[in-house]
């Protein structure tokens, strides 16, 4: 719980998070592992289940590492996609400053 207050390294998500993007996203997350992360999902237009899986696995892993994993910014489409597939990102949303 040490590094709670830092904003975390930024990770900007690609607009289209479809099946093709899952592996790339997975690699990007693995690279950033070990430090707090703040995900910018503001450009997301579309997200498929595979990318959602990767993000959630990331959230889980970061949580085990006791590091912060937040969605700093989200697009409507991103939120809608998470709602559609029943993934609740509310707890991961960044605090309003």
């Amino acid at each position: 719980m040490a590094s709670r207050n830092s904003a975390g390294k930024p990770l900007k998500l690609a607009p289209v998070l479809d099946l093709n993007e899952a592996t790339a996203l997975h690699n990007k997350l693995l690279e950033l592992k070990g430090a707090p992360i703040a995900i910018d999902a503001s450009a997301v237009e579309r997200m498929g289940s595979l990318c959602a899986q990767v993000l959630m696995a990331g959230a889980k892993t970061w949580e085990v590492d006791q590091l912060s994993f937040t969605f700093a910014k989200v697009s409507d489409a991103f939120v809608k996609a998470t709602q559609l597939i029943g993934v609740d990102i509310a707890p991961l949303m960044a605090k309003e400053i």
């Binding site: 093709n20 498929g48 949580e63 937040t70 559609l84 609740d88 990102i89 509310a90 309003e96």
Partner: protein, 760 residues
């Protein structure tokens, strides 16, 4: 993996499915009533439809859908797969193959044909074909799902299949709540489907609440980003009924576990024990939901843990104190659980993979890679030959250990070569299967009744040969059915079975593959062929030809005996094209015909196009290779056996028969004057007409296996020369095209400019 790759895989799979479909239908046609066969056929069509749906190939989907619906009637025993039904289905399989090809390569399909078939299939599905016991079923089915009429704009999808639909369950008008458990398998994603899209379609059916089950999700490092971990429990309130729900998943049916249960007629029954997130239709709704809470760092972390436990997470809207406590406990348990989840998930994955691979452990390899390997092995063989030659030249003492080592190396290279060639070897089955379709189509067009019997489908031959075999074989099959077989009336009049038989056989014989195509038709009408040849100035009116030579006239360009030109054959482009394609493959074609009993075409092809056993000969100081398969015998001519006739022709008498003597050096323009036959060696070769010719060469150097290097690819085509090779001493030797040489000796001279190229 990008989309094109996935699409390519889809088309590869389609090919396999189509083969499966056809062989299944043929089995049914032969009276096989094994439910597994019907299932296999159904699955094949279904998979094609599913994949096509994922890629938006609408024509393919709508046709496959109708086809599938009818097959489903067979599967559920509502439709007896008799000969008439199977005829329609086999034709549908053909159209399905056409549509698949059109989707892959572009190009059009015969729309009238597919529309007609859709109508026939629908008629079958609606039980319109009188079947024992069918009427009452038809009655039950027909009103439930009246198939939309097909209009002229194209095909229309019909209502979804009847199998899940119980007649006792009326179409729901009152909204009912269904509980759906949807667990996609990794294959779903591998095929380019996305669960999100399925869920989106589902959400459009009514009021939906969803719970995502993330229990199987492993840690980031352990996960495969393209595998399926999420599964969903969905509560859906809809008035559209269960079939509508299932139809959302129909393209993914084989790639997921799906469970749909009706909970109650009125809403909100299921939601209580499993807290779910409602899926809003309205985007603006999320603005209120997007929370700005979690003041402290601790709480934030607990929120993360909440994410992992969906049951608790569901209640997140109001994070009460008790909740926080509960979640803190969950968080403490988390690492343990994580490890457990990860291990079970990977175990399950491994088991699934094992199940999938148990079927047939094969791999798909890019053909280019195999070709590169073959090429390298070819170089190795050449190199090995060079090495042994230089050892023999430089080491006259013949150190036995070196020689033994070389021999072993030679054996090893030969073995490597054989194994590599075996990689490219494929059974001829797919080509034969395609032929059964050709037979069906031609039989339909000509109104003849034909049975295709195939033998030796598992005979293996090089992939290149297989690929190039399809075209000549198609021509020949068309000819056999169109020209060879008589009409049923004539057959009956001749005392034969009205159903004609075309027999396609493949077998190995002395290092070559022999493919025979036999029909039991009328045989070649030699008088007519002869007359036609005279009319077309192919032969002199008074030419004296043997039966065999007359039969072989049909291989001449521009020759057709059909009285009228039909759509199928008779344009006179058939048999000479066949012959050229077979020759291009290094093969020979022969014909045997018995009047009234039918004709047999015999093709003999090399098993591979990469290596060849050849006889190395010298002609006018040039080294040439003559394919061993062409050589019947070799002999040293004696002066007394040589007879001259005409200006420059010579014959050699062998065992009381005369055989034209062909001076290879003269024909290839290697020398200006004819060589003295007594100083050289004669190679007796089998020519295309079945007759023999004696090829004159200066000397025989020996016999060896050579690696074929294409002359066309590396230089340019040279008439009279089939290809080139590299000898042990590093020199290039040309491989003789025996048939071209023989043809040239008949007076059809090789083109002069090309001949210059040959000498240059």
């Amino acid at each position: 993996m990008d989309m094109n790759e996935i699409k390519e895989i889809f088309f590869q799979e389609c090919e396999e499915q189509l083969a499966e479909l056809e062989s299944g239908l043929l089995k049914l046609n032969d009276g096989d009533r094994d439910p597994e066969t019907v299932n296999a056929v159904f699955r094949a069509v279904h998979s094609i439809k599913g994949g096509a749906g994922a890629f938006g190939l609408d024509d393919l989907v709508s046709f496959a859908h109708v086809f599938e619906t009818t097959l489903d009637c067979v599967r559920s025993n509502r439709l007896e797969p008799n000969q008439d039904v199977l005829k329609v289905m086999l034709r549908s399989a053909d159209v399905l193959a056409d549509l698949t090809n059109a989707a892959r390569d572009g190009g059009g399909v015969d729309e009238a044909r597919s529309r007609q078939l859709i109508k026939e299939l629908e008629a079958l599905a609606n039980g319109e074909m009188p079947q024992p016991g069918a009427p009452e079923i038809a009655k039950a089915v027909a009103p439930a799902a009246p198939a939309p009429a097909v209009n002229d704009d194209g095909f229309q999808p019909v209502a979804f299949s009847f199998d899940e639909f119980e007649a006792s369950e009326p179409p729901a008008i009152e909204p009912s709540t269904y509980e759906i458990v949807f667990s996609p398998k990794s294959e779903l994603y591998a095929k380019g489907n996305d669960a999100t899209l399925l869920l989106r379609d589902l959400s459009r059916l009514g009021e939906m609440s969803i719970r995502c089950d993330m229990d199987r999700l492993p840690a980031l490092e352990e996960m495969n980003p393209e595998a399926a971990y999420f599964s969903w429990e969905i509560s859906l309130k809809t008035e559209k009924g269960e079939e509508a729900i299932r139809s959302v998943f129909e393209f993914a049916e084989w790639d997921c576990d799906l469970d749909v249960t009706l909970v109650s007629g009125d809403a909100s029954g299921a939601g209580e024990e499993l807290p779910m997130h409602p899926v809003p239709f309205d985007l603006s709704l999320l603005d209120e939901e997007a929370p700005s809470r979690g003041e402290s760092a601790e709480e934030d972390e607990e929120m993360v843990s909440q994410q992992r436990d969906p049951r608790s997470a569901a209640a997140s809207a109001a994070a009460t104190a008790s909740n926080v406590l509960q979640m803190a406990q969950t968080a403490a348990r988390a690492p343990l659980e994580n490890a457990k989840v990860a291990s079970t998930a990977s175990a399950a994955q491994a088991a699934a993979q094992q199940a999938a691979s148990a079927a047939q452990p094969t791999i798909r390899v890019d053909l280019d890679r195999v070709d590169r390997l073959i090429n390298l092995v070819g170089e190795l063989v050449i190199n090995q030959a060079m090495l042994s030659q230089s050892v023999i030249e430089n080491d006259t003492n013949g150190t036995s250990s070196i020689n033994m080592g070389l021999e072993e190396l030679q054996q090893l290279t030969r073995e490597i070569q054989d194994s590599v060639m075996a990689i490219r070897a494929q059974p001829v089955k797919p080509v034969f299967q395609r032929m059964s379709r050709i037979v069906r189509e031609i039989a339909d067009m000509t109104g003849k009744s034909v049975r295709l019997v195939t033998e030796g489908e598992n005979t293996e031959v090089d992939k290149t040969v297989i690929d190039k075999l399809a075209e000549p074989l198609t021509h020949m099959i068309r000819n056999a059915v169109d020209h060879g077989l008589e009409t049923p009336e004539k057959r009956v009049a001749a005392g034969k079975n009205p159903e004609g038989t075309v027999r396609l056989t493949a077998k190995h014989r002395s290092g070559r593959i022999v493919i025979e195509l036999a029909d039991d038709g009328a045989g070649i009408n030699r008088e007519k062929v002869r007359q036609k040849a005279i009319d077309n100035d192919l032969i002199a009116a008074d030419a004296n030809l043997s039966d065999e030579e007359i039969d072989n006239l049909i291989f001449h360009a521009g020759f057709s005996t059909a009285d009228k030109i039909s759509d199928i054959s008779g344009r006179g482009v058939g048999m000479d094209v066949v012959k050229r394609s077979i020759q291009a493959l290094g093969g020979r074609i022969n014909i045997q015909s018995k009047p009234g009993q039918g004709s047999v075409f015999i093709m003999s092809l090399p098993l591979t196009l990469a290596v060849l056993d050849g006889m190395v000969v010298t002609v006018a100081n040039q080294t040439l290779v003559v394919p061993l398969t062409a050589i019947v015998e070799t002999l040293q001519p004696e002066a007394s056996a040589i007879h001259s006739f005409g200006a420059s022709q010579r014959l050699i008498s062998i065992r009381n028969s005369f055989c034209p003597l062909v001076d290879v050096g003269r024909i290839l323009n290697f020398r200006a004057t004819q060589a003295n036959p007594v100083e050289g060696v004669a190679l007796l070769v089998e020519s295309e007409g079945g007759g023999q010719r004696a090829l004159m060469v200066d000397a025989i150097q020996g016999q060896r296996q050579v690696v074929i290097k294409s002359l066309e690819a590396n230089y340019t085509h040279v008439p009279g020369i089939a290809a080139a090779t590299i000898l042990g001493d590093g020199r290039v030797a040309l491989i003789l095209d025996v048939d071209a040489i023989v043809a040239a000796s008949r007076g059809q001279t090789l083109k002069p400019e090309m001949t210059l190229a040959a000498t240059g």
